[in-house]
């Protein structure tokens, strides 16, 4: 630092430090949301972002934390541009921190273009509607909650549930039937444990895709403020790979609950008016700025499919984080503790899970002509199973009508044969649908109102 002439404008001394925020007085012409370098007494540089800018003061959020900063000795330099991430195809196979700085031992990757990590909203008229079925090999997803290319489908999980295993299985097995395309995985870790990150990396290695993966790691012991830009940096990389390199990108964001907690932390320090559970009122807008960076663009080959993972605090789906996520994403895969306790893997809850884009990705020419009806029938029947089970708990199984007993049997078979599968079992869509018919055939034909007569004669009891 000593002899270097500072680029940009540099100010010595700050007026206040509060949590991850610093306040600087006596400045002028500092742009909102732009980047600042915060230099401590030892000359160590940390990055910060301007959250509030007024005539002679600015509020800066320091990504690497404020520990060790002193009021008189801290210097602040304003860069005059927002946080950028340098992109080129050399980012593939590399590991970055949340700010997009390489943290593996490799050389800095080449930079072809600098992109603002905040991104820009995609024009709805430029979007292409996602309708290409992705076969994940998992029956509960392919059959009941079909994933399509360009969708944002989160996993709502709870602590201790096998969401990582499921996502790893999906990344291993996902494919478009009958198509060979270039794909990539962007993995953004926000506040997860070292061993979880290692689990994913090992998994990528085992399936031989590591050189197609870009990792952004902000682990549990990394500064929490950095989490606020981690998904944005990752999505900037994804947008480059999808729309400039024309690759099909799967983005895994884990864990969004940690991200939201960091946002709440900053909001509290800024003394903003909280809405539910102390989260800021703009949590919805903030989350949508992340989730909406998925999809496809007309005339461009690539796509971004998002699979965010979030843990529902106390398994509560009405908690603001899953709740607001569910309002933005195109469905949700909900994991259920009860299924997990009964050792059913994957423990994907039958009823609250949903894929909104399923309707356009299934049917003749995509999966099979009976897909919509059999899925709808399985949902309806399984929903009745839940009622019958509740009734059986009160009056005893013996007292049930013969039909309701069949429903119980169907419920058991649905969970044990259809939902349940091995971590390495890769079922084709035809296998999945046939399995669906096998279990639904437990019930008499007359109960199956959502299936047409032709489908019944073709598939029932086969």
């Amino acid at each position: 630092m000593e002899n270097k002439v500072p680029e940009g404008r540099e100010y010595i001394g700050i007026s206040r430090v509060a949590g991850p925020l610093i306040f600087v007085n006596g400045i002028h012409d500092v742009g909102y949301n732009e980047l600042a370098e915060v230099i401590d007494a030892q000359g160590k540089v940390r990055l910060g972002m301007i959250l509030e800018s007024s005539d002679n003061a600015a509020v800066i959020q320091v990504f690497e934390g404020t520990s060790g900063l002193s009021i008189p000795d801290t210097r602040v330099r304003f860069i005059g541009e927002p946080l950028n991430f340098g992109v080129s195809e050399e980012i593939l196979g590399r590991v970055f921190n949340g700010l997009g700085q390489p943290i593996d031992d490799g050389p800095p990757p080449r930079v072809d273009d600098l992109r603002d990590v905040n991104g820009l909203p995609i024009n709805p008229t430029a979007r292409d509607y996602p309708r290409k079925f992705i076969q994940t090999g998992v029956s509960a997803i392919d059959g009941m909650n079909t994933l399509v290319r360009g969708q944002k489908l989160p996993i709502f999980s709870g602590t201790g549930l096998p969401h990582n295993k499921i996502v790893a299985q999906i990344t291993r097995q996902s494919k478009i039937v009958g198509e060979e395309t270039s794909f990539a995985v962007v993995f953004a870790a926000m506040g997860i444990k070292h061993d979880v990150a290692r689990y994913f990396i090992r998994n990528f290695e085992e399936s031989g895709v590591l050189e197609k993966v870009v990792l952004f790691l902000n682990l549990a012991d990394d500064p929490s403020v950095e989490r606020l830009v981690t998904p944005r940096t990752a999505l900037t990389a994804a947008e480059f790979l999808a729309f400039s390199m024309r690759m099909h990108v799967l983005v895994i964001l884990t864990d969004m609950t940690n991200y939201c907690e960091s946002l709440r932390e900053i909001s509290t320090v800024r003394e903003e008016i909280p809405s539910r559970k102390g989260y800021p009122g703009y949590l919805y807008s903030d989350l949508s700025a992340i989730y909406e960076r998925a999809g496809m663009v007309k005339g461009i080959e690539g796509s971004i499919t998002q699979m965010p993972i979030l843990t529902m605090p106390n398994d509560d789906i009405s908690h603001p984080v899953p709740d607001l996520s569910g309002y933005i994403t195109e469905g949700q895969i909900v994991l259920e503790r009860e299924l997990d306790q009964r050792n059913i893997y994957p423990p994907i809850a039958g009823l609250p899970s949903l894929s909104r884009l399923m309707k356009d990705g299934i049917g003749e020419g995509m999966t099979r002509e009976d897909h919509a009806h059999i899925a709808s029938q399985l949902f309806a029947a399984y929903s009745h199973v839940k009622d019958v089970r509740a009734l059986a708990a009160v009056i005893g199984e013996e007292e049930l009508t013969p039909l309701d007993k069949l429903y119980l049997e169907f419920g058991e078979r649905f969970e044990r044969e259809f939902l349940s599968q091995d971590e390495y079992a890769d079922r084709s869509i035809v296998e999945t649908l046939d399995l669906g018919w096998k279990v639904i055939s437990t019930l008499p034909k007359e109960e199956l109102h959502r299936i047409t007569a032709e489908e019944l004669s073709k598939y029932y009891g086969q």
Partner: protein
């Protein structure tokens, strides 16, 4: 050059505080900084002002200039609105895409309507006539479906000194001159501007009496809405709010649809953009896009423009109402609008009321919904605006402020139920929690078409559903087998009604739209099943005999096995039902 009226003092997200402000009016439109970001003055305090900015403020620094646009936030009204998709402040998104790439950059200033396109104008008034505001000057075939009626601006009146002959005109062309009593001559062009926050005037309000037919059975039969009425549709995520809004935009018999995608998903708007041009309106045989205006301010677009989007939409709706059309406005979702209000209010450090929402939330909601109604227009035509507003209550809990306040200002509620949605029973409109205050007002229309039976049939079904709700409480404790068959038939009929009638598949080619005539016939068959079945049970038959009838599964499938064009087949099912019931009855005579 625009006039500089102040400087930026502070930037906090979408709110910019200004200093040194002079000659600014409340709600004036301004442009901020080098990018000329569009904003609106929302607070004045001495020489300071607060501005909500409709675009991303990244990089905006204190000291930047603020320019006045010299008018309030307004929309441009004229031919070319139909079939177009705009953002929250009426910028045409397709033109933006053609001018840049897939992203919406900031600081874009483009014309709302196509200024180069010419329209075939036919005058309907002559020079020398006296006119007042809102009268029709001439007509333009705007789309294959809609005749656009060029109007005298509401605030103009006098004598016509000149009117253009029939011919091709662009929207900036003058088609008529009006000499006011003061002697001042006003020009009427093919477009006009109107401030979005001010309702356009009408001659008077008319009572509501015609239903808005939606082709959705649960709506038309159980919880109908009148043309000019207001509906709120609250529901947690995944309960099908957007699906209902889409179904109504596609199938309702309004002349014009204004669809406001307010803070929702980008792909949903894309879905509309791709599917609507391909969908043919069953009544007119034209693509429904020809009657649709789309306002898309998706969740990741700037939050202040989201706040403006509902006003932009409703003002466009009023313009078509003033031409004598029945307009239906879909606002999806008003919760996102309310949240935008909350976010802006929070950034301005206003004192919050319920759950952080500003205290003026109910006032804003009331103002918005009161712009609906059936009206006599200034040109003495009949026109209406119906509003269907969806609400996204946090955690699906209807006791939250937006749902509660909205319920006070609308007269119809379609409550979406999580349990129904989980069982994939769509539309997931709860028959126990929903209501419509319009039933009586529109009953004449239905009575006429049903031989005077509709009200009674509807009431019978509602009673059965109510009774079933109570019986289910018992069933949950002891199982259905314990109930006598006279009560089990209530369960079975309700079940039949739910599956064969209320549940409707919007992706099934036949089932997605159901004519009123088909609805009446279907309802009759189901009621007959109940009344004849009950008679037989009283004679000694049991419920299983009734369910084993072959006609039972015909009834269960009639919604998608019989098209709207061949509804006489339902009469055949009814005859078959009567015969089967007679046979069972004969066994006990």
């Amino acid at each position: 050059m625009l006039e500089v009226i102040g400087k930026v003092a502070k930037v906090i997200g979408p709110v910019v505080h200004a200093r040194g402000v002079s000659r600014a009016k409340m709600l004036d439109l301004v442009e901020v900084g080098d990018y000329h970001l569009v904003g609106e003055i929302v607070k004045l305090d001495g020489e300071r002002a607060a501005i909500q900015v409709y675009e991303d403020t990244t990089g905006l620094a204190p000291g930047a200039n603020i320019y006045s646009a010299g008018m309030p936030l307004s929309v441009e009204l004229g031919p070319g609105l139909l079939g177009t998709i705009y953002d929250g402040i009426q910028r045409p998104l397709e033109v933006i895409r053609d001018q840049s790439d897939q992203y919406i950059q900031k600081g874009i200033h483009i014309s709302v309507l196509d200024r180069e396109r010419s329209w075939e104008f036919t005058p309907v008034i002559e020079a020398g006539a006296g006119v007042s505001g809102g009268e029709v000057v001439g007509t333009i075939q705007e789309t294959g479906l809609i005749e656009h009626r060029a109007l005298i601006p509401p605030d103009m009146r006098g004598r016509i000194t000149w009117v253009a002959d029939a011919g091709s005109f662009r929207i900036d062309d003058v088609v008529c001159r009006v000499e006011a009593p003061s002697g001042e001559v006003g020009e009427v062009k093919l477009h006009q501007r109107w401030p979005v926050r001010r309702p356009r005037p009408v001659r008077g309000r008319l009572p509501l009496s015609i239903p808005l037919i939606t082709g959705q059975r649960v709506v038309d039969t159980l919880f109908p809405v009148a043309k000019g009425g207001t509906v709120v549709v609250p529901g947690g995520f995944g309960t099908g709010k957007t699906m209902i809004q889409h179904a109504l935009s596609k199938w309702s018999d309004a002349d014009i649809i204004v669809y406001i995608g307010c803070g929702e998903r980008g792909n949903e708007m894309t879905d509309v953009l791709i599917s609507f041009p391909e969908l043919i309106d069953p009544r007119t045989g034209r693509p429904i896009m020809e009657r649709t205006v789309l306002i898309a301010n998706t969740s990741n677009m700037p939050v202040a423009a989201r706040e403006a989007s509902v006003y932009t939409g409703i003002t466009i709706a009023e313009y078509y109402r003033d031409q004598g059309y029945h307009v239906a406005v879909m606002a999806d979702s008003t919760s996102r609008w309310a949240e935008a209000l909350r976010e802006l209010s929070g950034r301005m450090e206003e004192m919050p009321a319920d759950e952080g929402f500003p205290a003026y939330l109910p006032t804003r909601l009331a103002e918005f919904y009161e712009r609906a109604g059936m009206a006599e227009t200034l040109s003495e035509r009949e026109g209406s605006i119906s509003i269907v507003g969806s609400v996204s209550p946090p955690g699906g809990d209807f006791s939250e402020p937006v749902t509660q306040h909205t319920k006070r200002f609308v007269r119809c509620l379609w409550a979406l139920d999580r349990q129904l949605a989980n069982a994939r029973h769509y539309p997931a409109v709860s028959w126990l929690d929903s209501y419509s205050e319009y039933v009586e007002e529109i009953s004449d229309w239905w009575q006429e078409r049903s031989g005077g039976e509709w009200l009674e049939l509807r009431q019978q079904i509602m009673d059965l559903l109510q009774q079933e709700g109570k019986l289910q409480q018992v069933v949950k404790l002891v199982g259905p087998d314990v109930l006598p068959d006279t009560q089990r038939i209530i369960l079975e009929t309700s079940d039949m009604f739910k599956n064969a009638f209320l549940q409707q598949n919007s992706y099934d080619r036949v089932d997605m739209y159901c004519t009123p005539e088909k609805q009446i016939k279907m309802m009759r068959v189901i009621i007959d099943f109940y009344s004849l079945g009950l008679e037989n049970i009283k004679k000694g038959a049991n419920i299983h005999q009734l369910k084993r009838m072959e006609v039972y599964s015909d009834i269960m499938r009639m919604k998608f096995s019989i098209t709207n064009e061949e509804i006489e087949k339902i009469d055949k099912i009814r005859d078959k039902l009567h015969r089967s019931m007679e046979r069972i009855g004969d066994m006990f005579d």
